[in-house]
């Protein structure tokens, strides 16, 4: 871990340890905005870590930011910090200003039908963005639209659009935003990069968060297994429980490695392949991991009272956000099949 990454890790871990607890999570799930937490995150510069220093940000690398995404996942942080970091990076990359306050990402849902039109010097957006993370709280929505062979980054202020409230199965806000001839800011996205950058960076962030959530449920389960006694001894002394947790630890380690590799690749500008691999690998881990931790926790882990579900429900939800593992597996598979039996290994050993 680089020095910056280590400092960031310590900073976010302290912030979230102090400010994210069961009460805050429960309130957030009722739609309450944790304004103090957000204020502190903003004050510490976390929201703009990926924005270059020249534009007022911290100018950190993706590799350094990997740990923030992961710690957000580990603490089940109920604010769009990963989305805001990502949106800031996209806006700056398109030469646009990065406004203060929470931001979100759009155009990543398969039902989205967003159209951009030019009226004189002004660009206007119409259509709907579905299941937008924290859409009702975001000051602006950032999305990528293809227009005459060029990729454009769009910043659509929420003010003036219609918002339908919704949530994912973890109780995180996932809202529908409808735009009609909505004035937006537009900037060009550098040519040559593969794929939709919003999908890609969204999937990248979720992979990091999923690695963090897996670390959380592993830690909880190991300590629960050491504490909970049945038949006169800790259930963690039962070999079958040990074997389950070893499987979980291996899955968690794999997702962590896959996510970190994707963040490293993002710095080199060739992220698509490894983001696809990371999101696919993370999605694949969800069912076995969630199954194991709930089995180990018994009935208490199945209650709303117990804090385990704040992580397991997020894993279930995040699995299909910014492209499911199925979606990214197809992207990855198509690439491999195009490269062919004799071409895929040289490619794989070069990325």
């Amino acid at each position: 871990m680089s020095e910056t990454a280590a400092i960031l890790a310590q900073m976010v871990d302290r912030l979230f340890t102090d400010h994210v607890d069961a009460a805050l999570l429960a309130a957030a799930a009722q739609g309450r905005w944790p304004s103090e937490l957000w204020r502190l995150a903003e004050e510490q510069g976390l929201t703009t870590v990926l924005v270059p220093e020249a534009r007022g940000g911290m100018g950190a690398s993706f590799h350094e930011v990997c740990v923030i995404a992961s710690v957000c996942g580990r603490h089940r942080v109920p604010v769009p910090l990963p989305e805001t970091m990502a949106a800031g990076w996209l806006l700056a990359g398109a030469g646009l200003d990065v406004p203060a306050g929470p931001l979100s990402l759009g155009g990543a849902n398969r039902d989205d039908d967003l159209r951009l039109q030019r009226a004189g010097t002004q660009w206007r957006l119409s259509g709907s963005a579905h299941r937008v993370p924290w859409g009702r709280m975001a000051g602006s929505l950032v999305l990528a639209v293809e227009q005459a062979d060029a990729l454009l980054i769009v910043r659509a202020p929420r003010e003036g659009c219609t918002v339908d409230h919704g949530s994912n199965v973890a109780g995180e806000c996932r809202d529908t935003l409808r735009f009609t001839d909505h004035p937006v800011e537009v900037g060009p996205w550098p040519a040559g990069a593969a794929g939709n950058p919003v999908m890609m960076i969204g999937a990248l962030m979720r992979s990091g968060q999923m690695a963090g959530a897996l670390a959380d449920i592993l830690e909880r389960s190991v300590s629960y297994a050491n504490d909970r006694k049945q038949f006169g001894r800790a259930i963690g002394k039962q070999q079958v429980i040990q074997q389950y947790l070893a499987v979980l630890a291996a899955e968690a380690a794999a997702v962590d490695v896959a996510a970190e590799a994707a963040f490293i690749a993002a710095d080199a500008g060739n992220a698509e392949f490894l983001v696809a691999a990371a999101k696919t690998r993370a999605g694949t881990a969800v069912a076995p991991a969630v199954g194991i931790v709930h089995q180990v926790h018994g009935a208490i882990g199945f209650t709303l009272e117990h804090p385990l579900h704040w992580s397991t429900r997020r894993l279930m939800s995040w699995r299909s956000e910014f492209g499911s593992d199925r979606h990214w597996a197809v992207v990855l598979g198509r690439r491999i099949l195009d490269l062919g039996a004799d071409g895929f290994w040289p490619y794989l050993t070069a990325v």
Binding site: K237, A250, A253, I264, A329, L332, I336, L337
Partner: protein
């Protein structure tokens, strides 16, 4: 949770040149390798091929030059291993010597043993086998009964080793024997020996595996005399010495590439016009493969940095073994192939072979359950 951590490692840019050299070499030698021969993976045996690799400095690569090595890094060695495995090169003759026996001698052997043995391994002239398992000592290695008794002029060995891969074609075994006490002493009183298998009193009997292959053996010792200097390291410390090298044995690319030939042939058959279902399948397998490779490279990096990634290595072998074991099954569930080893297509022949041998992937080198026990201990559960 800091029970273990895979520090990211990447292959240095210089390895690109090495990789090109290896690919050029393989292109020259692999012209007549069939798909089913390649599917043998690191069970494929060809002493001539090993000599060719030795001539290029690709065996014992990381060892000091004075012992015949090339003083290259663990990451460069990694490149050689993965290229050989991907190509399905017949590397079995030198594999164990390069991976385990050589490093063991380098660390614990006498100067004489090192000078005598290591350069020959590096030239691809020596095949080694590992004598740990016995009839009553499988997972429970500490239960071994084979005894080495100190006598005038050396050691007398009595007992038998089982499942000893390549004993029928190896010149040497690294054997773990009991030098005092009895099985109730467990890990104490065990010692490692460099056994010249041509000595009198040693009989090797091949055991056919269920695929018809002859890879492992029973090795019987009937009062066989080993010279005094056959002892490796210190008497009574054999257990610690044997365990010290396990990270090397467990984390390499052979722990997830053993059935890669099935994936290659499947990709060939599917072609670029394959269905979305097929693409998803290939994508899922690729995501696992790429991740395992990064994990394995991470462990190579930790070994290079002289750390002890024992638990990380167990994780790689557990996940990797599950992956390479599941590959034929996943492909079979998708493609429903007739397993025809004689007249089938390349994919069918490869699948016929792999389907038969994959059950052993979670046994050899420590069973899945034993590995998971090691991981659980790392988690603080045992």
């Amino acid at each position: 949770m800091s029970a273990f951590r895979f520090e990211p490692s990447s292959l240095p840019a210089e390895t690109a040149t090495l990789r090109q050299e290896i690919r050029a070499f393989l292109a020259e030698f692999s012209a007549d390798w069939t798909a089913s021969a390649r599917a043998q993976s690191w069970d494929g045996f060809d002493p001539q091929f090993s000599r060719q690799m030795g001539a290029r400095g690709w065996i014992g690569m990381t060892w000091p030059k004075r012992y015949g090595g090339s003083e290259r890094s663990a990451l460069e060695r990694y490149v050689v291993l993965e290229e050989m495995l991907f190509a399905g090169a017949p590397v079995s003759f030198h594999w164990i010597a390069d991976r385990q026996s050589g490093p063991l001698l380098l660390r614990f052997g006498s100067e004489r043993q090192r000078c005598d043995i290591l350069p020959r391994i590096a030239r691809g002239e020596l095949c080694f086998c590992i004598g740990l398992s016995e009839p009553d000592a499988g997972s429970d290695v500490a239960n071994i009964r084979t005894r080495a008794r100190q006598v005038d002029g050396g050691w007398r060995v009595t007992g038998s080793k089982l499942w000893t891969t390549n004993a029928h074609r190896a010149q040497y075994m690294i054997g773990l024997f009991r030098t005092a006490g009895d099985p109730s002493d467990r890990h104490a009183e065990l010692s490692q020996f460099l056994v010249d298998l041509s000595r009198p009193g040693i009989t090797v009997r091949p055991i056919r595996d269920l695929s018809g292959g002859e890879h492992f053996n029973e090795v019987v010792f009937e009062d066989a005399l080993l010279p005094a200097d056959a002892l490796i390291g210190r008497a009574g410390e054999g257990w610690q010495q044997a365990m010290a090298e396990l990270a090397y044995e467990r984390s390499g690319p052979e722990r997830f590439l053993s059935s890669i030939r099935a994936l290659i042939e499947l990709i060939r058959v599917l072609g670029p016009e394959a269905s979305e279902e097929a693409a998803a399948l290939i994508g899922r397998l690729t995501a696992q493969l790429v991740t395992l490779r990064n994990m394995s490279i991470s462990v190579a990096g930790m070994l290079e940095a002289k750390r002890d990634p024992a638990i990380e290595a167990a994780v790689v072998k557990d996940l990797g073994g599950s992956f390479e074991q599941s590959l034929p099954e996943v492909i079979q569930a998708f493609a429903g192939l007739d397993l025809d080893a004689e007249r089938g297509s390349d994919l069918q022949q490869v699948m016929a072979h792999l389907t038969l041998v994959v059950p052993s992937f979670s046994l050899r080198g420590g069973t899945r359950e034993i590995l998971r026990g090691i991981i659980a201990r790392g988690l603080g559960l045992r």
